[in-house]
């Protein structure tokens, strides 16, 4: 045979397919890391807002603070996180409290938010 024969189309396609599948799998594994971090941060944010709501409910209607921010010892474990607390009148004897944590996951353009609301009434409430 004077000239070596080249690769057939099938061979080239199979090679590209194999390499492509491997790279895709690697990409998926790396991407799952980012998803895991996001879900962990969501869990932390959720426990921060639940803790705040619980302490506001326990404090009762008379001790509700004005709108603003609130403090939490775990807030520094979220990347560039801020907290907001909004207290508004729902009706004459009820206030609507909305507690949010906003943070910025690395490598994402938009910031993430976890927000919970509750109604706190003048009478009744937690023992």
């Amino acid at each position: 045979m004077k000239f070596a024969r080249g690769f057939s189309l099938i061979e080239v396609m199979l090679a590209i397919l194999t390499v492509g599948v491997m790279l895709l799998m690697l990409q998926a594994v790396i991407h799952s890391g980012a998803l895991l971090k996001t879900s962990k941060n969501k869990g932390i944010a959720l426990s921060i807002v639940r803790n705040e709501l619980e302490s506001l409910r326990a404090g009762g209607y008379a001790n509700l603070p004005v709108s603003g921010t609130f403090a939490n010892s775990l807030i520094d474990s979220l990347p560039s996180a801020t907290t907001t607390l909004v207290v508004s009148a729902h009706n004459a004897k009820t206030k609507l409290v909305t507690v949010s944590v906003i943070w910025q996951d690395p490598n994402t353009a938009a910031s993430s938010t976890v927000s919970l609301s509750t109604l706190i009434t003048e009478t009744g409430g937690l023992p």
């Binding site: 690697l26 799952s32 890391g33 971090k37 326990a58 775990l74 937690l126």
Partner: protein, 183 residues
């Protein structure tokens, strides 16, 4: 007669095979490393959430933190590392059955494994049993709003989980206060 390979040809083949093998090995290595890390990461933060949800699900309906209670022979005491709860029993529709109680305890065995033991009254709709909540606990701390357990209405749960993946440490920290709704 067939022509043999020249030196150059064999060298090129060897070089290509080596670089392909190195690429594949690197791919497999990073694949393993990333997935192992991901697994431990999910376990550490997932189990922190699991402990928190489980404590919530039993402490919200509880009416008291007990200083001590005997579960089928074994006695557990409420301390900074274990929590014993008395929970009014419920029927199939979720309504409280008067004067009968279920008992639950959260505790850590060794230094890393957290369990929940629930002892339900025979009439209760809850299911008795022991459940492993986490195997990556670093510190599980309960604090109470009163030194006298009969006056405790709020429990603060602080969970730190930690897992070692090769040379990396993955950890998580959660803290939440829970008010007994039936106190």
């Amino acid at each position: 007669m067939k022509r043999a390979f020249t030196l150059i040809e064999s060298l090129i083949v060897v070089a290509i095979s080596v670089s392909v093998m190195i690429t594949i090995a690197l791919l497999i290595y990073s694949f393993n490393k990333t997935s192992g890390y991901g697994q431990m990461f999910a376990q550490s933060s997932g189990s922190a959430s699991a402990i928190l949800r489980e404590v919530e699900s039993l402490a919200f309906p509880a009416d008291a933190v007990l200083a001590t209670h005997t579960f089928a022979g074994a006695t557990y005491t409420s301390t900074s590392t274990s929590l014993v709860l008395e929970i009014p029993s419920i029927n199939g529709s979720g309504n409280v059955i008067a004067n009968i109680y279920d008992y639950a305890v959260f505790y850590v065995v060794g230094t890393t494994t957290a369990y929940r033991l629930l002892e339900a009254h025979p009439f209760s709709h809850r299911t008795s049993g022991t459940k492993q909540l986490s195997s990556t606990v670093n510190a599980l701390t309960f604090s109470y709003n009163d030194a006298d357990f009969t006056k405790v209405s709020t429990v603060t749960v602080d969970i730190q989980t930690q897992a070692l993946v090769r040379e990396d440490i993955v950890s998580d920290h959660r803290r939440e206060q829970i008010r007994l709704r039936n106190y």
